[in-house]
Symmetry: C2
Subunit: 157 residues, 2 copies
Amino acid sequence: MRPDTPEEPQQPPVRSRADRTADTLERLSRDIDLWVASASQDGRAYLVPLSYHWDGSTLTIATPSASPTARNLIRAGWVRAALGQTRDVVIVEGRVEAIPIGANPELEDAHARSTGFDPRTLADEYVYLRIAPREIQAWRSNELVGRVLMRDGAWLE
Amino acid sequence: MRPDTPEEPQQPPVRSRADRTADTLERLSRDIDLWVASASQDGRAYLVPLSYHWDGSTLTIATPSASPTARNLIRAGWVRAALGQTRDVVIVEGRVEAIPIGANPELEDAHARSTGFDPRTLADEYVYLRIAPREIQAWRSNELVGRVLMRDGAWLE
């Protein structure tokens, strides 16, 4: 992203932290997909879009158990993911918990409703991966300062 | 992403490889930003949006030399990046070559024109990272089959 774009037309004013937090919570509730980055033990990066379910404090994705994303995230126990657009970004980092199919039917139902697909019905073996955010950042092109909204799992005041 | 969404309204028809390739080349020319995934040697993933310059066969980004992205990409010599939207994806994987500021003024000028920012004018020390694609995939929600467009650096016929 451009670090500084004063010439950009109709740049909206820099948002307060409270406004960014409200926008971020609204995006987490409204959006369906996010970009999931992961890495293998020997430092090879992977990136793929996935749908998620947001329950107000955690995000749950589902992906084939044999996929690079599942293997990488389960190994690391940690994810860095992005929502939104490149000029209106939300970055979420957090712990990853693997939940096998059948372990949490309520969550599985909610995931199916939010994402529009139900991995319980598919031939491939899927695993749910629940993300507990520890750090959240949000910024637009002119908002690099003040982009940290959550630190150590706590929303900043 | 949902692996299969037949219920989605107004799903456009599945594109041929030729159409996907044309759309992908058009997107590479037209878009400004992409999502760059990288990983540290010990397997920690990173993800950030950056602007790029496309010269018809390579993408050039610029980022502070001390940033996780620069360190990770220079170490790995490889990148996985995404353009577009989560439901209209282009994934680019390729080799990364670091180019210090001053080494290629023509490329630096072209990068500044394409991205709208010029790292040569900034206080932080930046490095250019030139990506030579080796594999390119493109898909929409209903297009998971046939998504490989480039393999080993060659566009598929």
